[in-house]
């Protein structure tokens, strides 16, 4: 049940999504990945992708225009 972080601040869309995709492949089931993003477009497609993959996703706005997407790997 390890927790990993992925810093994608300042990265434009599609980069956060591609990094998340790669990172998720390394994680074990039950692990949690926290992705920090500040590009509004990634706010949509990262959670959307993760939910469609069947993972548990939570979004938190930690500051104005800065989000943390918390993804728990379920399979």
């Amino acid at each position: 049940m390890a927790e990993f972080t992925l810093d994608c601040l300042g990265e434009a869309c599609p980069v956060p999504l591609m990094k998340t995709e790669k990172k998720m492949a390394d994680l074990k089931v039950g692990d949690v990945l926290v992705v920090s993003i500040d590009h509004s477009c990634a706010m949509k497609n990262v959670p959307e992708w993760a939910r469609k993959q069947g993972h548990n996703v939570e979004i938190e706005e930690i500051a104005d225009g800065e989000w943390e997407v918390v993804i728990e790997k379920t399979k």
Binding site: V32, K52, N56, D64
Partner: protein, 229 residues
């Protein structure tokens, strides 16, 4: 395992302490007053300017709030297989088709010159090459024209740089377009669908194409992601 990891319970160790959020209400009020003032200022020069301002602002707000992105509509099917934004753009295109047809047909039926005919461009290989270049550029820059403008407004620093080069590129393109029109693509045909199929036929052809693309988008996502949701 199995239980959902709440961020509250898992956080704290290696998470940055949350900054208290400042209220943005004063800024919102100030900007609203400035916009209204700017509207009155523009109204002195031209009646239509305020309407343009209003449309521009509405467009920006809708674009930002809906996270609408033309780049994502063409990029996400390739990266993740998700076509939800693609389908949103297709619906937007069909709505725009109705609006454009209404404006153009009413001008045509009234015997007036049809507005916007300058924008019916020639179809040529230059268009294909240009479209591919634009596609590569918008994926690297992280947004097309409207997306870049919207994110500059949101304060995304990298795309302020995109905006500078977007302006330079647009000016260069506008400067040389005349040369391309007279020298390279002079013989290329420009097609205005109502001239070919008639007004009703053009509408039918357009909607048929959009419908086929929509169905293809649904099938694509079902194949890539297992569901069309």
């Amino acid at each position: 395992m199995g239980q959902i990891h709440r961020p509250e319970s898992s956080g704290g160790r290696n998470r940055a302490p949350r900054k208290p959020k400042k209220s943005q209400l004063p800024i919102a009020l100030l900007v609203t007053i400035l916009v209204v003032g700017f509207g009155f200022y523009l109204n002195q020069y031209n009646d239509k300017m305020v309407v343009y301002l209003l449309f521009g602002l509405s467009f920006g707000v809708i674009l930002q709030r809906s996270r609408f992105c033309f780049t994502a509509s063409l990029r996400d099917p390739c990266i993740t297989g998700s076509t939800s934004v693609t389908r949103a753009v297709l619906i937007a295109c069909s709505l725009a088709t109705i609006g454009f047809t209404a404006i153009k047909y009413s001008a045509f039926a009234g015997g007036n010159p049809i507005p916007g005919m300058d924008n019916v461009g020639q179809i040529s290989f230059a268009l294909v090459i240009g479209a591919v270049l634009f596609g590569i550029g918008m994926v690297i820059a992280g947004g097309c024209a409207s997306g870049t403008l919207m994110r500059v407004g949101e304060g995304f620093t990298m795309q302020m740089l995109s905006l500078v080069f977007f302006v330079i590129g647009s000016l260069w393109g506008a400067h040389d377009m005349g040369w391309w029109r007279t020298n390279v693509i002079k013989e290329s045909p420009s097609v205005f669908l109502p001239d070919v199929f008639g007004w009703l036929g053009a509408l039918l052809v357009q909607f048929l194409i959009i419908l086929l693309l929509y169905m293809a988008a649904v099938k694509w996502q079902e194949k890539k992601m297992g569901s069309a949701e």
